[in-house]
Symmetry: C2
Subunit: 222 residues, 2 copies
């Protein structure tokens, strides 16, 4: 039974502001997170031992616990940082675009660019989706829901603009499937870069939903 709050007098993190102030502590922690991501990527969360992780960081097993309090928290930090970053960048990019179709293309491009540039972290985020429980799990789930919501709104805008009608839920989740499945097959030597990949997937998806959901005229299934 791990206690949630009663007795953590050991570690004193002197910085808790939102923007990371680049202290020595933070820099070292970031290094550990990077190396841990590599190990989780290759062996999975359950399959990776704390000894594996410490070896990858060039630090002693006990030394790791100065930077975080449990293996679970380590996974949480990786997932939170990865997910937060991709949402941030998306918001930034969406500012410049107003056309509904283009906004979806921006969404796909942003997702795939980040996915392929940070393939290991994104696999850890996608593959170890439901291992975090309690507060850690709910926090990651909240970011996920937010990200999902953004995509859903983008798609609803397209539907309104073009007068289409189809299930947004299935469309969005199909799109996520297309994009996230990439971690199981993408090889940089064989496959095109993120830009081209995004265009091809966007073409399939956009033409797909546009053609399959013609609303007011004619009698077609929906």
């Amino acid at each position: 039974m791990a206690s949630a709050s009663p007795a953590p007098p050991r570690v004193s993190r002197r910085r808790r502001a939102a923007p990371p102030p680049k202290t020595r502590f933070d820099r070292r922690l970031a290094k550990i997170l990077t190396h841990a991501t590599d190990v989780f990527y290759e062996k999975g969360y359950e399959g990776a031992s704390m000894r594996d992780l410490s070896r990858a960081s060039g630090m002693s097993l006990a030394g790791m616990y100065y930077y975080f309090e449990s293996k679970e928290k380590l996974l949480y930090l990786i997932q939170k940082h990865t997910f937060t970053t991709i949402v941030e960048r998306l918001r930034e990019r969406l500012k410049d675009v107003t056309d509904p179709e283009q906004r979806i293309r921006v969404f796909i491009l942003n997702h795939l660019e980040y996915f392929l540039a940070n393939q290991k972290a994104m696999k850890v985020l996608s593959h170890e989706d439901d291992v975090l429980k309690n507060s850690f799990g709910t926090e990651i789930a909240a970011i996920k829901r937010e990200y999902y919501r953004i995509c859903m709104d983008l798609l609803d805008n397209l539907k309104r603009a073009k007068g289409l009608e189809f299930s947004s839920r299935i469309a969005v989740l199909s799109l996520f499937g297309m994009m996230n499945w990439i971690y199981t097959w993408y090889h940089p030597r064989v496959d095109a870069d993120a830009g081209e990949m995004a265009e091809q997937m966007a073409n399939i998806f956009l033409q797909g939903v546009c053609a399959s959901g013609k609303a007011p005229k004619k009698r077609s299934a929906n």
Copy 2:
């Protein structure tokens, strides 16, 4: 270094024919496989202990080893049976259909029907994709490649029939992504049944690839 063949004098399986002859041994093993699938589904392969698995089967820990020689073999048996069955059923269904587009629809329907009817087994197959090593791993990988090949051929036929041009690799893997991602979000209470799901995904995918890959000549399709 697990020995592949030298010294297994302990277990004597008196039946080794391809069609399962329903001996008591086979029936009991099948039960164990079913229960093990449930546990793997919920805790993952690494996260599930042999003690969890034995508890789920209502059998003692040691008793399990009478039916299979290792935890790895257990996962192998589950994956092999699941994958073999879905390929079998697909081959059966494809016999009746000749139209290239309809054949792809059959592929999607078969995949989703089996996926949703055997959601747990299919998650274990999809999620624990790269945990099996050595001969077990290569054998499962071979079935996977065969399945992939079938879909690829189906798509190439469509391309030839309709004079389309696009990357079959990306299209096929996008389709697999769409379909396999289902295990992360599908809820029978909320979402439609396999038939409707297959139709919607097939619409998106087929309209997508048909519209996005217009051949050298022609301007106005449909």
